[in-house]
Structure formats: C-alpha cells, structure tokens
Homo-oligomer: 540 residues x 2
C-alpha cells in the first residue's frame, strides 16, 4: 500500500468534507425534480455499500447498471466502487445479444435497472448466466418477470449511514465499460482508480474544462457512456452543483433545466447542440443565460454552430477528443495565446479541431507502416495516444491488445493531422477512410463540406470497392430542398477538393441509418451498397 | 515499470512538443534581459544531461545548486532530474555550518554556483566532503579559490542537443530541499517525480492557481525555496511564458518587469507585496496593469492589503498554505459560491484565511492528545495533512519521522481552525503559541492586530516564561510614529482581545531580527529576553 492511493473514494470524501451543502438535482421520469445535498447522497452511498456487504458481494465483484442520469445512478457510481467492487454501466440500446454477451463476460452478479428498462432486462434475463439479483431503481417493483427482484429503496433501507471505506490499491478496477464499435463485438475497458483520479484532476484545469466549485455541471451525455465523460466524478471532486437530466434530453427540456437550475457547464454530443440551435431559433425565450460553456465531443460540430454559440448565445463550445479506452479525455480546444492574435475565421478553424493534448496526454501520428508523420497540419497519419489514464488493455481480449498497442502507445484507429503548434485535427477513422489508388480520401471532410451546402440535411460518405482504384467514395445525401442535384453538389465540392476526391456516385435518400449511439451506420450503408452494386466499374 | 510513469520529464516533453515557441525571460545580474524559447532551453537541457553523463554522474547522484532565478537555474531544474539524478537546491543565506552539513549529508558531487555566491562557496569549500567539481553559472570563471572549477557554458558546450530520456520510476527522487527551521538543524525533504507530477496537475486548477498557457508566470519566490513553489514546473507543463527576475526583487524592479513582460501571475511572500504597495503609493505609474493575480504564502497578508490589491490594483491576492514537506502546496483561497453571497467585509475575512484544501489534499485538526477538534471555526487544533504529493519522510532522520507522522498523516506543527465550510485558518505555530494557564494565546493574532494599529511598522510577540501562568506574551514593536505608547496599544488590542491575552510587556525596538527567509526570528528574541529578564514575576 502506498502512503496515499489515488482512488475515487477521495472524490467522495472531499465532497462531503468541504461541499456537503451543495446540491445534486435530478429530473425524474415523471418530470418532477429531486434535489438533495452531497451530505444526503453520502449517507445513501454508505447504506448502499453496507447493503452490498450484506448481500455477500465480494471485493472485485461487478454489478450491472442500466439507467439514465439520476441520483440513484450517481449513488451507484460510488457505493460499489469505493467499497472495492466495480460498476459495469450498460447501454440499454445495444442489440440484445450484445447485452447478454457483455453481462455474461463481465460476470455481473447484480443488475440495477431503471423501471423504463425493465422490459429490456426481461428480454435478456433468461440468457444471463451470472446475474443473481435484480434491483429496480425505484421505491417499488413494477409488474415484472425478473426474479429475484427488489426495489432499490428497500435494498438499501435501514443500513448505517456511515461506512469505513477500505484503503484500495489504486490500480484496482472501479468500473467496466464496453465500446460500442460499429463492427464486431463490443470490447470491455477496465477503468482503474488511479486513472480516473488523474483524468479528474485534468478536468479541473483552466486550459481543459475548468470544472469548478462555482459551476453547476449538467452531463447530458449518458452516465452509461464512458463515465458520463467523467463529469459526475469531477463535479464531485470540485464540489460543483450537479444537475442530472434523466431521460429529458430534448432541446426544450435541456434548455428549461439549464434555465431553472442556472447550469453553467453542459456536456453533450454535437447533435444535441445542433437541435438546440434549431429550437432556440423558433423560441422567444433566452434560456441559456446562465450557461458559460458547452462541452462536446464524439464528432466535430460545424464551425458555424461554434461561432453562433460563442457570439449569439455567449456559451462557447469547447471540443473534446477522446474515446472509451481513454476514460475518455485526450485533447480539447481552448483559446491559446496564438489564437487570440488570429482573425476570427482562422480562430474558429482552430477551435473546430480536436485541440491540444491535455496535460499528461501524448499524441503522435504514424503511417500505416509505423513511420513518423510530419506535424505540418496537412499530412494525415494514424493517431497514437498515451496518457496516465488510458487503459492498459481490453478486458479478456488478448488478440485485440496485440493489435491495438505498440511500444506503450494505443493505436486509436483515428486518422488525423497535427499542425506546428500541436493542434490535432481528426480527419477520419481508419475504417472509414477511403484508400483510392494508394492515397487516403477523407470521408469526414467530404461529409462536412456536403452538409455545408445549402439545402443538405445529412450526408454520409462510404468507401465502395473499385476494380482499379481499390476504393472510391460514394455519397448518401438527405436533401431539404428539391433544387439540390448531383451537378450542384459536384460544383460545391470542387470549390474545396481536387477532382479525384469527388464521389463516383451520389445517392439521394430519405434518411441515413444510425447506430445506437447516433453515429452514421456506415457499415450497413456499405454492405447494402455492395450487395446492390458490387464493385464499381473502371469508367466512373 | 508502469505503462505511464508520472515523471517531470513529461513536463519538458509537453513544453517542447506543443509550446516550443513560448519564451523564458531572465533578468541577469547586469540588469539586461536574456530571452529564449522552450525549444532553445530544451536543447541546452539535453546538452547538460550529456555533460553529466560524460562527467560520470551516476543515476541517483545529486548536484548542489546555489543560485537566484534565471534560465541556467531553470535548465538545472530538468537536466539532472530527467536523466535520473537529483538537484539539491541550497539557500546561500544559510549559516555556513548549515550549508556544509546539508551538502555533506546530501553527498552532492557537483556544485553549480552563481558568480555572486562564489564567495559563499569558497567559505565552505574546505569542509565539503563530497563535492568534486564546481561549475560557475556564467560563461567565464571569475577569480576564485574553488578547485576544480569550470564555467557552465564550457561545461555543456559541444554536446548533442537531443537526448534519449530514460523511463524513470515515478517514486524516484528528482530533487532535495532542506527546511530552514528556526530551531535545530535543517531537515531534508526528498521530492519524488510522481509527487511533483500531481502537485503540478493541481496548479492548473481553476480553483487553485489556474496556471494556463495564456499566463505569463513570474516566480519572485526563489527557485531554491521549495521548488520555487512549483511554478517553474507548472509554467512548463502548461506552456506559460516564464519570467525569472534574478536578484532583482525590489518593488521597483518587480513592478518594472511585470510591466515590461506583461506578467499575469506573480508569486512572492507577503512582504514583497507590502513593499510593493508602499512603492506604488509613491509612484506615478500604474505598472501592474497586466497583472491578473498575485499568489502569496508563508504568512497571512493583512486584510487591508488584500482589499487594496483587489479593488485598487485589480490583481487579487490568493493565499496559499503549504510547507517544504508538502512540495509546498496544501490549501488556497478562491472565491467560492458561498463567498459571492457574503458582504465584502466577511468575504475578505475568508480570503485572508489559508483556504480550502486543494483537490487531493486532506486536512484534519487534533488536540495535543490526538483527539479530533470540531470544525466550528473557533476551536484550535494542530493541523495534520495528507496529500499524494506530501513527503513520505525526512531524509536520513528516522527520529523526526517518528514524531512527525501519525497514521499516514503529517503533523505540521501549525495550529489552525476549520470552519463548517472547510476554510482553514492558521492561528499559530505550536512552537510560537503561548500556553498561558492551560489556554493557548495566539502570538500571530496579536501580531496582526498590532500591525493594524496606526503608526506600527512591525510587531513580534513571543512567549516568555512565567512563574504562575507557565507562559505569557511579550510584544516587540517597531513604531513609525512617536505618539505610539504602551497605553495606546493596550487600548487598541482590547478592542479585539480579552484582557488576559494582552502582552505583559511591550518593548519598543528599532528592528526585529529576521531569519534567512525573512521570518521573525522569535527564537533569538526569546533567548535574549530570557537572558535579560528571566522568568516573569507573578504581578505583571
């Protein structure tokens, strides 16, 4: 044992020692607000830990949680982990066979489930080999075939509201989360106390997200999705007021909650902010007045949206770049000295990028052959990452570890460029990039440009097999305007790209299929295109 | 070896990867400014590491440095440490026999010395048992008896400007610093890579010092004094422009440098800011325009000074509480949500305190018998501290470790109170507190009140032995005004304190003796008083 182990128990202790009076507010399924303090939460977390002891859960055992963002989910972030167990957060939108596989692989012994997801749990329950007990996150058990089942309030009721937290080894797992890859089975990432301690320290940085005691933090991003990007932990460590929106993530609901609770920091994927902009355009009110900054990630928001949030709503968008394997944070945008001297347009061009590696994170670019790529802002390479909070390997996947790690660096599968000042730009996924005649064409850059064209709603670009060039781009476009045709789009793209980058085929569709995490499902698109068209011929 | 060791080498690599164009500016002994970039510094740090290899310095060996703040001292912060050696920073103002003892105890093999301190080195050289080589921090060697001796530029000249830094164990010592206790021999504190990594992560926090790439950071505090409070490290990790003032620490020189280099953050002990205020009062210029915040520590600044810096100079003072053993940071003031709602006067009353423990640091209060003390803002107790960057024990002092550590907590020897919101207030040193009839009288509180009286320049209060009460306070006062007498001071103190707190004796003196770190030398005062007066009689 070290003289000070870096464990997430320290977050909880700091909150209750220094900020016990600060609030955690949850919007419940019936739309009502539940509010209590860190002191209240702490007592129930202690009760939960005692209940797990009493149940017979051993050190290192795991529990599943299938829930949206609310105070009981928050309690589950600490009760199991701080008492030496691990919480496996599951995405209820996964295909059923994925859910079954990951819960069985994780050997979860209890499953905590929101009333709204009881049906999902019922659908997989027969195939769950290790789950012994279901706990419904409510004060009563609904009509259900789950068995044995108990409600959460009864589960923790009557236990002592103090707990003697064990000194845990900082390399102990405190949580497990699976990547929702678009190809193949999800892969588990074990989160370890030390790594989340360091990840959380970085969240408080003025050049990262600057999470502060002064903030009211609302993770709209689901708590089952990569530690809710870490905000439930950093909010706790820094004593921020926390606002948990439950399933109420529509623009109107998010805007109302921001206004009602004076939220200063809200974190969500770009689509939430795109929809928010549309909503605000049609609304008379100014609900974002308290909002100081917007944190987003997962994919790059349009530069126009970033400018609008900064200049009109006065809540600048900060980009984060990360991934499940990295807890998730690796890099982020912030206004550097250099940017302050740039004209607006160039400044937004930099802010649109993935940003600067966070303190402790390191990024390098490599060719497919493993050679270094120059940091010229132009030459793309695969992004390799290191950081003291990045995973040390996938759970029970030695073959994936073999291919994903090299000299202590994690091969992210993302393709990027780095400019002379260290700004990282994500150009593509290796899986999505189009290898045309030995060169890479970025499907992402084509998509961004297509969406920028007037009258285009959505656009996805895939790699179609080609008999000469190996692969060529094919575009799927959702239009909002009948005047859009292939000729006008080709003309639009030619303003930015060389002729050989232009898609060989444009398909106009009503919608683009999405994955459970609302990314374009390019795998489905590609499979379907190949089934229908086969290999593209030479003369296209 | 871990997959990512928390070493200070990461600071250097980040600076050169991302902020290579940012500047380090040093004011040299002749008053001229030396400026170069992190890229330039990096090349010379690599050369220095090669020079140490070539010299035959082994992993773990130590070098002494006796220097003020400038770029060569900065290079010595990284070259030895990142190549696996350790830098022992020495305070040239120590008594000669202390210097000899600590350099011998540390077994330093090289001694790097400023030309200005060559005489000091010469005075002790005959007694240094392990120093083999002197290196003068200049481009030529002055007339000196030091032998063998070489100038720094010749020492590093010609070596490769790249270096393959070793992967070091994060618990390896990178620096050694001795406490300058007012009683007894200095005790050495070994700083370890992991601990400074964590200390530095906390420096970037918006609720701590918020060190940012946007900042221009000037440590006025000497770099031989507890890692320059950590600013040379945090400035590097976050890519701040660094300004090193050399020996030019007069109010006028500091003000000029702030203005010339657009310094945003300056760190120095309170006396610097007290003198700065007097200087600015008599000056026509407004040199602090760029200054965003002032960091201070070591002793509490007067509330009136804090208010003036915030409201007149628009550079609020943030208090830090720490010590050599803690690298040094433990707690700091910041504007919490609660303070925003308080009237000005109460707000400044909180800002004057030592503040809130930094994320990861923990503070508790204990009675002399080891019993918990309530957090009521009123009851004093000894401050015990834990943090992941606090030392794990004194260097070669098993008996001091025995008495200074308890259950993993460090007994600071400071007496404090903690209020219900966790604000720590330093009331006294255990050594300085006056034990009168079983109660503690705070010498520090009496001093603060005396200084607040019109016409009082300095005031020190000591504990004099008393035949009945065990100890009683005696005040030494420097007046700026002939109208001040004992009666007026007693009247002034009675506005705040009970009668039994008032000093039994007031002595009006021309000056108060100071230690080498500019603290009141209460030990000398006390020894002299006892020699002259003996035990105080009953009727006083």
């Amino acid at each position: 044992m070290k003289d000070y182990e870096l464990t997430i128990t320290k977050f909880l202790q700091r909150a209750v020692d220094l900020f016990s009076h600060k609030e955690i507010v949850s919007k419940l399924s019936d739309g009502s607000l539940h509010r209590y303090t860190y002191a209240d939460a702490y007592e129930r977390i202690c009760q939960l830990a005692h209940a797990l002891d009493d149940y017979g859960l051993e050190l290192g055992d795991r529990v599943s949680v299938m829930a949206v963002n609310h105070y009981r989910h928050y309690e589950l972030y600490f009760g199991p982990s701080c008492s030496g167990r691990s919480i496996h957060t599951t995405n209820h939108r996964l295909p059923e066979h994925h859910l079954t596989e990951i819960i069985n692989e994780a050997e979860d012994r209890l499953l905590f489930v929101d009333p709204a997801f009881v049906e999902t749990a019922e659908a997989v329950a027969d195939d769950l080999e290790t789950v012994e007990q279901y706990v419904v996150l409510d004060d009563e058990v609904p009509e259900t075939s789950l068995d044995p089942v108990v409600d959460y309030e009864s589960f923790i009721a009557g236990y002592d509201t103090e707990y003697d937290w064990p000194e845990l080894d900082e390399e102990r797992e405190f949580a497990l989360c699976y990547t929702s890859g678009t190809t193949g089975l999800p892969k588990g990432v074990q989160y370890r106390h030390r790594r989340m301690f360091l990840h959380t320290l970085v969240h408080g940085h003025v050049d990262v997200f600057g999470v502060s005691e002064n903030d009211t933090v609302m993770p709209v991003v689901p708590m089952f999705h990569v530690n809710g990007w870490g905000f439930p932990y950093s909010g706790t460590f820094y004593g921020s007021k926390l606002v948990l929106p439950g399933q109420h993530t529509s623009p109107e609901a998010v805007a109302d909650l921001i206004a009602a609770e004076d939220v200063t920091v809200a974190a969500a994927v770009p689509t939430v902010w795109i929809d928010m902009d549309s909503y605000l355009e049609s609304s008379e009110s100014e609900p974002l007045e308290s909002l100081d900054r917007v944190l987003t990630g997962g994919s790059a928001p349009p530069a126009s949206l970033m400018q609008k949030f900064e200049e009109v709503y006065e809540a600048p968008i900060y980009q984060g770049y990360g991934m499940t394997e990295a807890s998730p944070h690796l890099a982020n945008t912030f206004e550097t000295t250099q940017m302050q001297d740039l004209p607006d347009e160039e400044g937004y061009e930099l802010k649109r990028k993935a940003g600067i590696p966070a303190p402790g994170a390191q990024i390098r670019l490599r060719t497919q052959d493993g050679e270094p790529v120059p940091h010229d802002g132009d030459t793309p390479g695969e992004i390799h990452a290191r950081s003291p909070w990045l995973t040390d390997g996938y759970f029970k996947r030695p073959e994936a570890n073999e291919s994903s790690f090299e000299d202590g660096w994690f091969k992210t599968g993302d393709i990027g460029t780095i400019d002379e000042y260290g700004y990282l730009d994500i150009v593509d996924r290796i899986d999505d990039a189009i290898k045309s005649g030995g060169e890479w064409i970025s499907s992402v850059e084509l998509e961004i440009s297509l969406i920028d064209a007037d009258g285009v709603g959505e656009a996805a670009v895939i790699a179609a097999p080609h008999e000469k060039w190996q692969e060529r781009p094919v575009a799927f476009v959702v239009t909002e305007d009948d005047s859009i045709d292939e000729a006008s789009l080709r003309e639009h793209l030619l303003e930015t790209f060389p002729k050989w980058w232009l898609p060989d085929v444009f398909r106009f569709v009503d919608e683009i299929p999405k994955t459970t995490t609302q990314k374009f499902n390019k795998k489905d698109l590609r499979d379907q295109f190949i089934e229908e068209e086969g290999e593209l011929p030479l003369e296209q």
